[in-house]
Symmetry: C2
DNA sequence: GATGGGAATTGTACAAAGTACAAGTCTGTT
DNA sequence: AACAGACTTGTACTTTGTACAATTCCCATC
């Protein structure tokens, strides 16, 4: 889990952030400076950050931002359907502002998480009667290209 | 995460345990009393226990069994390909002696994990060039039948 | 049967991720 | 301006898992 930044996840914004405040309000979330910056930080990266990664990123500009706020805000976003949680690394939750169904790859060496293509819903296993699905995840773990190269060196 | 035991995962053994010791030896694992009991505990349940759950289960009969041994033994099994890790709950790893590719359901209320059917390989997203896949997981989270009933009550 | 060496196990200490909760601050409304 | 409720903060704590040194066990050899 060392070379996070060098992995092949481009860092382009996902959508328009012109008016994050009204977007949050539409989703039933009262905006606050903390919530705006946390959402923007999440939506402007494709690195699928953990809660602590977001806290580390925002701390310089918001020195009093507490870890508790980041955790509770991300949970609020997940509950409102504007973010999804990925349990992909096994040791920490990663978050994604892109909520459409798509698969993920996690590198066991550097910890990076990158997007893969979508899944064909028709081919997924059906849920037995009585189970209520709320979300689903498909992920692959292995070694990313950067780490393959540096392992060979 | 309360009613673990009442969830719909039947507790029948997966395979023959007649000679666990020689099975482990075949897989390149030196048997020991601890390893035998840990493997048998894992293979004889469909509850996908966590490492600590196995430790709690075996502690009465092996009072000196240490948590470290359980953790390192399970990792040994995963490396040898006779167990798989499930990162499904986000907060702890669950283990499964059934290593064939199949999906899982996790109940957000009681924490139970049950087996679902297999996946059609053809429908899975393809991995871009340079990525090396080592394992994959498909899981659905939601509410299991037991918890649906008790939530309504 | 004794003995030496490597593997396995143990126990303690530690680290990381996340949660609980009470106190403080902010914000919007009256 | 004052109140109430929502939001944020900070501390303490729990859970999960890892590091590592010391001990114990097993087994081959003498």
């Amino acid at each position: 889990m060392e070379r996070q930044a060098s992995c092949p996840s481009t860092a382009a914004p996902i959508g328009g952030l012109l008016n994050t405040a009204s977007f949050l309000r539409e989703k039933g979330i009262q905006p606050s400076p903390q919530r705006l910056r946390i959402y923007e930080a999440l939506a402007s990266t494709r690195e699928h950050p953990s809660a602590d990664a977001i806290h580390r990123q925002l701390s310089p500009e918001m020195p009093t931002l507490s870890r508790t706020t980041v955790y509770s805000t991300l949970e609020l976003f997940v509950g409102a359907g504007i973010a999804q949680e990925l349990a992909i690394t096994g040791s920490q939750l990663r978050f994604d502002a892109e909520v459409s169904s798509h698969a993920h790859f996690a590198c066991r060496s550097c910890g990076c998480v990158v997007d893969l293509g979508g899944l064909q819903a028709a081919s997924l296993p059906e849920l037995p009667l009585g189970f209520i699905a709320e979300s689903s995840q498909y992920f692959i773990t292995g070694i990313c290209p950067s780490c393959t190269v540096s392992t060979l060196a």
